[in-house]
């Protein structure tokens, strides 16, 4: 296991590449999910406000 | 002087002559940037000589880029650009005419003052000749490509900085070829290949970019 993690002495380079890639892809997905959620919440609120206005 | 395009060319040149400070500012920028380089990297003549092609080209490229913001913005602000869209001539040709006028006002002076700066950086006469030739072919490419960026940033806040981001990456090929031409002579080989490619690039830009610029102008005024 340690041998695997050591990557023949190239650990910083290999893991630096793989982990950064994994990290950035995850960040991209999280950012997208956050954007989607806040947008949906916002649209819902607009719809609610509009419905209230129509009632009055 | 009655043809519409000639009338436009003359109009732009006349306007520039009535406000010569605009063109002079660009030349001034070019001179100052080049003059600052030795202060940053030391006065060793041989070292300066080896950096000269790149320094001169990058400075020229920045000068052209900065001047480009004005290419359409005045006409945009006072509404004449809108009227140009209604002129019964192909917009691509009108745009090309404006670019030619702009190059005569800003690009050509850069070519003309470049020998003075080259002497300061210890270039030899044959190298200076090639530098001028390369700038003569290359600065029109810079104006032609840059015009697209100028059109795309019409009326945007922070347009000047945005132009830089849009246009500078596209300036890589002329920079490589132009500075490379002088470099080649410096290292005792011929600059012909560089200059031929640069010429081909100019012809291509001459035919292709005005249409993209015209499309961009139409979009930004839509």
């Amino acid at each position: 296991m340690m041998e695997f993690l050591a990557m023949g002495g190239y650990a910083p380079y290999v893991w630096g590449s793989y982990l950064i890639m994994a990290g950035l892809l995850v960040v991209e997905m999280l950012q997208l999910r956050y954007r989607r959620r806040s947008l949906l919440a916002w649209i819902r609120r607009m719809a609610r406000l509009r419905a209230q206005e129509e009632k009055q | 002087m009655f043809h519409p395009l000639l009338a436009l060319l003359r109009r732009d040149l006349t306007l520039a002559l009535r406000r010569p400070q605009d063109a002079l500012t660009v030349v001034g920028f070019f001179v100052v940037v080049v003059a600052l380089f030795p202060l940053g990297i030391g006065p060793d003549p041989e070292f300066l000589r080896s950096l000269a092609p790149g320094v001169l080209w990058v400075a020229a490229l920045l000068a052209v880029m900065l001047s480009l913001e004005r290419l359409f913005s005045d006409d945009f602000r006072d509404g004449t650009l809108e009227q140009l869209l209604l002129v019964p001539e192909p917009m691509g040709l009108l745009v090309l005419t404006k670019i030619v006028a702009h190059w005569l006002i800003t690009g050509l002076p850069l070519v003309l003052v470049s020998p003075l700066l080259a002497i300061q950086l210890n270039l030899r006469p044959d190298e200076i000749a090639i530098l001028m030739l390369a700038l003569l072919i290359g600065t029109p490419i810079l104006s032609l490509i840059g015009a697209i960026g100028a059109a795309l940033t019409l009326g945007l806040r922070g347009g000047g900085v945005l132009i830089a981001l849009l246009i500078l990456p596209l300036y890589a090929p002329p920079l490589i070829l132009g500075a490379g031409a002088v470099d080649a002579v410096m290292h005792g080989s011929s600059a012909q290949a560089h200059l031929s490619l640069l010429g081909a690039m100019m012809v291509f830009a001459l035919f292709a970019t005005p249409w993209a610029t015209a499309a961009a102008v139409r979009i930004m005024l839509d």
């Binding site: - | 043809h3 509404g79 209604l86 005024l221």
Partner: protein, 229 residues
Amino acid sequence: MPAPHATNHPERKETVTAELSGMADREFRAVDLAAERGERLLFEHLEFKLSPGQLLQVSGRNGCGKTSLLRILSGLSRPTAGEVYWGDEPIRSVDGGTGSCLGYLGHQNALKEDMSAEENILIAGRLGGGRPERETVLAMLGGLGLAGYEDLPVRFLSQGQKRRVALARLLLQPRALLILDEPYAALDVQVIEVLRGAIEAHLTRKGMIIITTHQAVDIDGDCRNLHLG
């Protein structure tokens, strides 16, 4: 310079009027136009037809899309839906561009501040493919009360005077259709009268006019109204 001869030339007026471009017998139609600005729908299903000799006045409160409509009609903007026709051709594919059949005066005067009124008009005329004559230009400027101001840089002129220069430029370019966005803004009563005369003359020689204006100016001729909003 034989100046005395140049005054009161009877033919001159005719040379200006006769040139109305040859397509003057075509109709100008808007079919099912829609426009939006940002998120907002300005108008939709807008239709009208304009025949030679007719004037269309577009009215409506501020921000209802008058300027957007005029820009679409002049081919500067693309409508969200629908099409504008010059005869049977869509206006944006007319030979020589929309500018060959119509003249447009927007909110901006489109004048070069560093040039004189005369230069501005001469250059615009050449850009439009004509060969404007100096005397014609001077006569037109004189008629609009700008005698003596012809060779001053435009930046010295007042707002109203600049507007008049822009009007002179438009009237000197004989186009079948004139599209005027608030032409009366910043004009005084006298000049409004002159402009009215010019508009009526344009209509009698089978020209078309589309105009937006705040004040009602009664014009003799075949006038239509289009209310937006």
